[in-house]
């Protein structure tokens, strides 16, 4: 403690206290501006230079000191994004349903005899192109076996193969067990649209059993003929992608791309009632 009692330290302390008291008083009374301005002339240029360095360090400092804050903010933003995504998803579903209903209305205007039931697909086979799927409505909603199914763009999807009170099983036109009486819209040449394993994997089907001189071309639209009374006449099945000749059966056949986008379906429309086609 000897040092603190030394004359030098006491004098220095008195000077320091004196300086502090005088300058605090000056500052409080507003008289210190000239002194400060003088000092600012000396310090500000150096401060400006070091401020450049400081600003460069600013980002790194923020990274360390504001990490928790940023992390929390990030989580909150992620939450907000999820909420908004949910809303977007919901709006998209509503829009799709609206679109489907609007198209259904157009179909209904064209075919006044049709009665529809909009059904969600609740289960499906694994794979990119479903051929068999389960619907969320059944006999309680008027859905029964052998009723045709169409998509929102009126393209034929397939038919109901089995139905319970609250569910129904359906198979699409690309399924190997499917067969639909069809004709070429342009030439009226008839045939049967059937599923094929390899084509089914690509989401395609084929129209076969056509006469060897049948008039069919790439791009032709294939429609349901109504023969067999399962499907109403005139539903769009798809368009011809390739025409081939079967040497063994001596018949023409063509590969057809379904008009309905079968792989991306979430809901379908079941035609529960329609006027049966009677062949002349």
């Amino acid at each position: 403690m000897k040092f603190f009692k030394s004359k030098f330290f006491i004098v220095t302390l008195i000077v320091a206290v004196g300086i502090a008291a005088v300058f605090t008083a000056m500052s409080l009374l507003g008289y210190s501006s000239y002194l400060k301005k003088g000092l600012y002339y000396l310090t500000v240029p150096v401060q400006k230079l070091s401020d450049v360095v400081g600003r460069a360090l600013d980002g790194y400092a923020s990274y360390v000191t504001e990490f928790d804050k940023l992390k929390k903010e990030n989580e909150e933003l992620k939450g907000q994004i999820n909420d908004m995504m949910d809303e977007v998803q919901s709006a998209r579903a509503i829009r799709e349903e609206n679109e489907a209903l609007r198209r259904m209305l157009e179909v209904k205007e064209e075919h006044l005899d049709y009665k529809f039931e909009l059904v969600d697909i609740v289960g499906r086979e694994d794979g990119n192109y479903m051929t068999v799927f389960t619907l969320g409505k059944g006999k309680n909603n008027g859905i029964d076996k052998d009723m045709p199914i169409i998509s929102s763009n009126s393209g034929l999807i397939g038919r109901i193969t089995d139905a319970g009170a609250t569910w129904a099983k359906a198979c699409s036109i690309v399924d190997m067990n499917s067969s639909v009486g069809a004709y070429v819209e342009r030439s009226r040449a008839s045939g049967i649209v059937t599923g094929d394993y390899e084509l089914g994997l690509m989401g395609l089907c084929k129209i076969s059993y056509m006469q060897s001189d049948a008039d069919i071309q790439v791009g032709d639209r294939i429609l349901t003929s109504g023969v067999g009374s399962v499907y109403p006449r005139g539903l769009i099945i798809g368009t011809v992608e390739e025409v081939k000749y079967d040497e063994g059966l001596r018949t023409k056949y063509a590969i057809v791309r379904p008009y309905a986008e079968i792989s991306g379906l979430t809901s379908v429309t079941v035609i529960t009632s329609f006027e049966r086609y009677v062949e002349d």
Binding site: F3, F8, I19, A20, S50, G54, A61
Partner: protein, 177 residues
């Protein structure tokens, strides 16, 4: 009275530059390197560490000047730093040259004491200005103290290096490192 040699003058000059640089850094660089929103008492750390090595009288004069310069450059109303810095330098001199050997321990002890007083000074000014005590202590004084303690070791090492270069410039036994 012995006349100081060139190396002594150079040492004191460079020490002054070192402390001056600390003051400028505290006013310009450290506002960008905040810890929980706090600027550290960097100059106080430098004064404490310099006082562990420097001549007693030189330390005291530099401490008072640095305190005055800091308060003036900082633009605050209260000019308390000259007194605080002088007391910190005195404590550092006492511990390093009269009680303990020249190790990091005196710097830690005097640094802790000085930073505590520094944080208390900040808290006092804020409380006088009308801020509530508890948040001031928790959100201002404590981070400021911690930040200062973190800086103490690198500042001590830098000061030790500075005085190792000038170890032959001390005429008295107090200057020997």
């Amino acid at each position: 009275m012995q006349r100081p040699g060139f190396s002594t003058v150079l040492r004191i000059f460079l020490t002054s530059v070192y402390v001056m640089a600390a003051v400028i850094m505290q006013c310009s660089v450290f506002p960008h390197l905040r810890f929980f929103g706090m600027i550290p008492e960097f100059t106080l750390c430098v004064i404490v560490c310099v006082s562990c090595f420097e001549d007693e009288k030189v330390s005291c004069i530099i401490a008072v000047c640095a305190g005055f310069l800091l308060d003036t450059a900082g633009g605050g109303t209260f000019t308390l730093s000259p007194v605080l810095f002088l007391l910190a330098a005195g404590l550092s001199i006492l511990l390093s040259k009269h009680v303990f050997a020249r190790t990091f321990l005196p710097a830690v002890l005097s640094g802790t004491a000085a930073l505590t007083v520094g944080a208390a000074k900040t808290a006092l000014i804020l409380v006088i200005s009308g801020a509530p005590l508890a948040p001031v202590l928790l959100k201002t004084a404590l981070p400021q103290f911690i930040y200062g303690m973190i800086l103490l070791l690198p500042v001590y090492l830098l000061s030790a290096l500075h005085y190792r270069i000038f170890r032959n410039s001390f005429e008295s036994r107090r200057g020997v490192i």
